[in-house]
């Protein structure tokens, strides 16, 4: 029995993963269309602008920068996704990574240890600080019922203030020579994470941390799909009431997930800190946590999807630099990013609903074909 278009449309044919792939692709095309219209309206040639972005993005040096920034974005999005998997909205990844990077930078700058140990301790400090900071929101939620959305947003503000207080010359900071910037004491070479020249044709090095990020993605996949803990976590996310009835201690899971998300968030600042700046100063990148939220949505909490999303985001961010030189406002890229996220969410939702309904129809059809089918089937 071969399948017709209506068969597929009505769900008589099992859907493969292609539909799941089509949704984000269509969304990106749609976002490109919207951006083109805006470019046209503002008097810039859409096609040439896109070509400019693509050409600049394909240069060896830009490729390295894209990979490096994407590494950071990837970890940030994973941290957010851990919470998302059980319906926890950790808006606080931003505060968690900044505080973690600051403390880790200070510890790394003060330590004298052999190379691998030095890096390890610094990373461990970052993970611990991120987890601890997130655990405040987790504790508030399980003991007092405070929504983690509210508490993590507030903790972001507190982290900013707390960080500013710590980053003064009286405490953790020293003046950066040759500028009026201040930062933590630079981490000595034994505490730096070596990069490697992956892309030919440029001196720029790819962060060594890209390996850690990849391992993190793998660990994320294994945790959620192969362990009991991950099963409990997903079950809680899908139906809290069913999880309770099946014996999952939801409060414990909330706290653990929050800590886990915060611990991953602690790593967000590490590629930059250990691979490039070696010190946490006033110009350390901010806002990575919020970008992570967008990318986690884009990647549908899937480690591969998030990687693609992070690369796309990083590509747009990095290659937008060329637009300013050509007199095109680079903010056009932000419009594009926003449109992508919105249209992807809509597209995923449509596909999801369609799939669910299609599967129900398919099951009932397969069953009624075998069992006693009542009369009068109106196709």
């Amino acid at each position: 029995m071969s399948s017709s278009f209506t068969d597929r449309l009505l769900g008589r044919v099992r859907l493969g993963g292609l539909l799941g792939l089509a949704a984000p692709l269509l969304a990106i095309v749609f976002a490109g269309l919207v951006t083109s219209i805006i470019l046209q309206l503002t008097g810039n040639p859409p096609f040439e602008t896109m070509k400019l972005l693509a050409d600049y993005g394909a240069q060896p040096r830009t490729i390295v920068m894209i990979i490096n920034l994407a590494t950071t974005y990837y970890i940030s999005a994973l941290a957010v996704a851990i919470g998302f998997r059980m319906n926890l909205f950790n808006i606080g990844v931003d505060g968690q990574y900044r505080l973690a990077a600051l403390v880790a930078a200070a510890v790394g700058g003060a330590l004298v240890l052999p190379a691998p140990l030095h890096v390890g301790v610094t990373i461990l400090v970052a993970v611990a600080v991120g987890g601890l900071w997130a655990s405040i929101a987790g504790l508030l939620k399980v003991t007092r019922g405070v929504s983690e959305v509210i508490s993590t947003i507030m903790l972001n503000a507190i982290a900013t203030g707390f960080g500013a207080w710590l980053l003064t010359t009286d405490r953790l900071a020293v003046a950066v020579s040759g500028s009026n910037n201040i930062g933590t004491k630079p981490i000595p070479p034994s505490g730096q994470f070596p990069g490697f020249g992956l892309i030919p044709g440029t001196q720029a090095k790819v962060f060594g941390f890209v390996v850690v990020a990849a391992l993190l993605g793998l660990a994320y996949h294994i945790l959620f799909n192969w362990t009991r803990f991950g099963f409990d976590l997903r079950a809680t996310g899908k139906s809290e009431s069913a999880a309770v009835a099946s014996g999952v201690n939801v409060r414990k899971m909330v706290l653990l997930t929050m800590v886990l998300s915060g611990a991953a968030a602690g790593l967000v600042g590490m590629p930059q800190l250990l691979g490039a700046s070696y010190s946490y100063s006033l110009d350390f990148p901010t806002g990575l946590g919020f970008t992570g939220i967008a990318i986690a949505l884009l990647g549908r909490n899937n480690p591969v999807g998030i990687a693609i999303g992070a690369l796309l985001w990083s590509f747009l961010d990095n290659s937008s630099d060329i637009l300013d030189l050509e007199g095109i406002p680079k903010e056009i890229v932000i419009i594009m990013q926003g449109t992508i996220v919105l249209s992807v969410i809509v597209a995923y939702e449509l596909v999801h609903r369609y799939r669910l309904a299609a599967e129900q129809r398919r099951v009932s059809r397969e069953l009624s074909a075998g069992a006693s089918a009542p009369e009068g089937v109106a196709a």
Binding site: D232, A235, A242, V244, A245, S246, N249, L367, S368
Partner: protein, 519 residues
């Protein structure tokens, strides 16, 4: 009571065409019980009651009549003309209004604002003509004696008045045929009397009312005609004057009752689960389960009868450790009062929850993952901290085979299965891992006949093998048929012990309302 006289006087002189006619309505969908060949004729100016058990298909039928679902076959005629509703808007346009079981009112708006919401009278195209709306509402309210003040906030109204607002809402939209879905479920007896007075007022004015209920005494007191639905199809249309509550009950339940005579006791002397002085408190500190004690022996089914909402759900959740409670629960020799839900489950308590979709399943997860749910610390689902996919998948196949779960495979989402098959999967899952005690809450609610019989067979077989079962059900015949002993729960207390071999659904029903405590 005197109400029967009023309604007959009006209905006898209007022998016009039926207000609503349903002919061979059929609805199939992967959910609970669908409709099959429904035939129904409702005369104008009457209260027509549709009765049936929970899950018999009453609600589906009403959704079809109100345009919320489209039938797969059959014909609907309103005032003699065939109609095909696509949305509730079409039904409203044809003069059909629905008063839902759960009120759909905004608390912080006034009665007037709630009534006009969505069909506001316009003034010069933009503004809302409150004056006209107020006049019209007053007119309707007076005409039918509903007595609702248009400017009261809904949050200040009692339940009965809110229901009248709902009725006003549909009348305001021009409805001449009203569907009331279990309207008395939320009312106290006095409010029920008031509602019935209102309904009689409405039919006197020539309106038609379709009244859905499973409360037989109410139906007999208010209806001019009764249609009985069983297992998704209309089985009888009767005149309330010619029928007793008992006869109606038999029509509703049909002949598919389990027969209590044909089985022998398997009750042993070993106590599997003992509950002593169990008290559960609600949100305001009021006891919702009070000082409940009982034993269940191996091989025994203990049935708990009671009108829903008398503490059954809380009792079950306390035994499962999902809800804090005072008292002692002993499983075999172990005091499990302080144990977590997980530990109790590991200790051998199986659980068929009342609401399978909320508590029993992950709807958007494949069947084999649902097999793990509630058993995520036990073989064959896990190996240490790791999920054993192969083991879980193989065992899911076994359950599907043994419990006849109709599904094309174990990778489909649970949401895709029909209610009966979802329930069979849950029963199979809870029976695996050799439970000592099974807590079964409404195990066959909303399940089709075949699945119901299969679930009963599984429960009987497990009982014969020494399982202790706590059975909670709203289906009195199921309770009487399966239980070895029966207790009646009323307002959180166990008020009576009943011998299931010597009780009828009617007597048990009156014991549940507290009326038959002496009898």
């Amino acid at each position: 009571m005197e109400e029967a006289a009023i309604s007959t006087s009006t209905s006898s002189d209007t022998v016009a065409e039926p207000a609503v006619e349903l002919e061979g309505i059929t609805k199939r969908f992967p959910g609970v019980v669908a409709n099959r060949d429904i035939r129904l004729s409702v005369r104008r100016g009457q209260v027509h009651a549709i009765v049936g058990e929970n899950g018999a298909g009453k609600s589906t039928l009403m959704k079809i009549l109100y345009g919320m679902q489209r039938p797969d076959g059959g014909e609907i005629r309103v005032n003699g003309a065939p109609v095909g509703f696509r949305t509730p808007g079409d039904a409203i346009a044809a003069g059909i209004g629905m008063v839902h079981q759960h009120f759909m009112l905004a608390d912080n708006l006034t009665v007037l604002e709630n009534i006009i919401l969505g069909s506001e009278p316009r003034r010069r195209g933009i503004g809302i003509d409150f004056g006209a709306a107020r006049r019209k509402i007053k007119e309707i309210s007076d005409a039918y004696g509903l007595g609702v003040g248009p400017d009261t906030l809904v949050q200040d109204l009692g339940v009965g008045a809110r229901q009248r607002v709902e009725i006003l809402k549909v009348l305001y939209r021009g409805a001449r045929i009203l569907i009331l879905d279990e309207p008395t479920a939320v009312l106290v007896p006095q409010e029920v009397d008031e509602l019935f007075d209102n309904l009689r007022g409405l039919v006197r004015q020539g309106l038609t009312i379709i009244f859905i209920s499973h409360k037989l005494d109410e139906v007999l007191s208010v209806a001019d005609a009764i249609t009985v639905i069983r297992r998704g199809t209309t089985v009888a249309s009767v005149d309330p004057k010619d029928v007793t509550a008992r006869q109606l009950a038999e029509l509703m339940v049909g002949s598919e009752l389990p027969s209590p005579e044909t089985r022998e006791s398997t009750v042993t002397a070993d106590v599997a689960l003992a509950v002593r002085n169990l008290t559960v408190r609600g949100a305001e500190g009021r006891a919702v389960v009070e000082d409940v004690s009982f034993d269940i022996h191996k091989g025994e089914v203990l049935g708990i009868a009671g009108v829903e909402g008398n503490g059954q759900a809380e009792l079950v959740e306390a035994i499962m450790g999902m809800r804090p409670a005072d008292g002692v629960i002993t499983l075999g020799d172990a005091d499990v009062s302080g144990w977590s839900t997980l530990r109790r489950r590991e200790g051998g308590i199986g659980y068929i929850p009342e609401d399978r979709q909320r508590h029993g399943l992950l709807l958007e997860a494949p069947l084999w993952e649902n097999r793990i749910l509630g058993h995520q610390t036990r073989k064959p689902n896990v190996k240490g901290p790791w999920i054993d996919r192969t083991g879980a998948r193989a065992d899911t196949r076994r359950i599907i085979e043994e419990y006849d779960v109709r599904t094309p495979g174990i990778d489909v989402d649970a949401a895709a299965l029909s209610g009966g098959n979802q329930q069979k999967l849950i029963v199979g899952r809870e029976m695996s891992g050799d439970p000592v005690v099974l807590i079964a809450s409404h195990p066959t609610r909303g399940v089709d006949v075949g699945a119901q019989a299969a679930i009963w067979d599984h429960l009987r077989a497990a009982r014969a093998a020494g399982l202790a079962v706590l059975l909670i059900s709203a289906d009195l015949d199921e309770l009487i048929g399966l239980s070895d002993s029966l207790k009646v729960i009323l307002r959180g207390r166990m008020v009576a012990d009943v011998d299931p071999s010597d009780v009828t659904p009617e007597r048990l029903g009156s014991a549940m309302t507290g009326a038959g405590e002496e009898a």
